[in-house]
């Protein structure tokens, strides 16, 4: 499933990386501990987090994640968006909480 397919099914807002939505999503990972994500997320995963600072981009690019969904209506910091463009990581936001986003993604087949 591609990021753009997820966008069709879930109410999410793309904040940056509009040109990267053709990316294939291999599954998902949810977590706010960066080391945990570094250790356990898998290449191509979409990452759901509450963190908004720019280090999430470094984590996502180190693990070659397909994109980041920021939960709970939080907005990424300015530097995060700049970094996301440099590193080609799409950043998406949502009103839903991490738990709900994860559940919905799982439901539509992101596993």
């Amino acid at each position: 499933m591609k990021i753009k397919d997820i966008l069709k099914k879930l109410d999410l807002q793309v904040i940056s990386g509009h040109e990267l939505l053709d990316r294939e999503v291999s599954g998902g990972y949810a977590g706010d501990l960066l080391s945990d994500v570094l250790a356990n997320a898998i290449k191509g995963n979409i990452w759901i987090t509450a963190q908004i600072h720019q280090n999430i981009i470094a984590v996502a690019s180190s693990k070659e994640l397909s994109g980041i969904i920021i939960a709970n209506n939080r907005k990424p910091e300015k530097e995060t968006l700049e970094k996301s463009k440099e590193e080609n990581i799409p950043v998406i936001t949502s009103n839903m909480l991490t738990y709900e986003i994860s559940g919905r993604l799982y439901e539509i087949g992101v596993r």
Partner: protein
């Protein structure tokens, strides 16, 4: 030459749109005048190993005479046709292509007509400027593919060849990165630079991922716990050795620090998602060798090795 339409266009198909007729056509065209004879046609076809000759009146294309026309002459009784003028034997309604058309259009035209060649006309000047065959197209595509390939390969090639080009018994490339403590905004930047360099050097994605994760954790440790530090990456052709040093408080109990979940990070650091007590265990997991030396109040010296795949 059939144009096969795939869902995702191949590089070659993409090139047939990109390349223009004028880039692959033959500019030196052998031509004949309408009053030339078929005997001349025979001589020219034989001497030049070609199969068709455009006929021009001044600069204007008025026809084409081909090997088929000649064969017909030769099969006539007493071979009278051979002395006839070209203008009576040529095809007057000539299929042509324009010099600014993309190759893909010409490929289609070859398919549809079954002709072996097309005279090329300059659209503005209405004048014959070249001739194009299927062979010319294949040659043009191959040349273009080769140039593109070299362009893509050249950069990675030239950097990774450092190891072979410098005459020695072995070569180690050393990259030094300074890390400032407490600067969370910049945390991860040095690792990001290192990662890009490893990409340029042509290491495999898996090798780079292992190095990037471990270096990121090491960099974070310096940012979180120390005033400043340094990350030195020694790059061998077959492995990457990373060494970090810092002027920090040191780790009182190294064994305890290696235990997953053990952390001395303050709350505000944890809130940012760091200090989960997984940094050092992560490094251990993702590297092939790791050593950690630390002395209280003197700093920490961490090194790890990732072998290239």
């Amino acid at each position: 030459m059939k144009t096969v339409v795939h869902k995702a266009p191949s590089k070659t198909q993409e090139l047939t749109y990109e390349l223009k007729v004028k880039q692959v056509m033959r500019k030196k065209v052998i031509t004949l005048k309408p009053d030339s004879t078929m005997n001349e046609v025979r001589r020219i076809l034989r001497d030049n190993k070609i199969s068709g000759i455009p006929v021009v009146d001044g600069t204007r294309l008025v026809g084409i005479v081909t090997i088929e026309d000649l064969l017909i002459c030769l099969h006539e009784p007493e071979i009278k046709g051979i002395d006839e003028k070209v203008k009576n034997r040529m095809t007057k309604d000539v299929a042509t292509v324009y010099s600014d058309e993309p190759i893909v259009r010409v490929v289609g035209k070859f398919d549809k007509t079954g002709y072996g060649r097309f005279p090329v006309i300059d659209r503005a000047k209405k004048k014959l400027v070249g001739i194009i065959t299927k062979g010319d197209i294949i040659e043009g595509l191959l040349k273009k593919l080769e140039t593109d390939y070299h362009k893509e390969e050249n950069y990675t090639y030239s950097v990774s060849e450092i190891f072979k080009d410098l005459n020695s018994n072995g070569c180690i490339l050393t990259l030094i990165y300074k890390i400032k403590g407490g600067d969370f905004k910049k945390a991860g930047e040095q690792t990001s630079k290192l990662r890009k360099n490893l990409l340029k050097l042509g290491f495999s994605p898996e090798t780079i991922r292992k190095v990037a994760i471990s270096a990121f954790e090491a960099e974070m440790n310096i940012v979180i716990y120390t005033p400043e530090g340094e990350l030195i990456a020694k790059i061998y052709p077959d492995k990457i050795v990373i060494n970090t040093t810092d002027m920090g408080p040191g780790i009182p109990d190294v064994e305890e620090a290696m235990r997953p979940g053990y952390s001395t990070a303050p709350d505000w650091v944890r809130e940012l998602g760091f200090g989960a007590g997984m940094g050092l265990p992560n490094i251990k997991n993702y590297t092939d060798e790791m050593t950690l030396e630390s002395e209280a109040n003197k700093g920490t010296n961490l090194s790890f090795v990732v072998y290239a795949h």
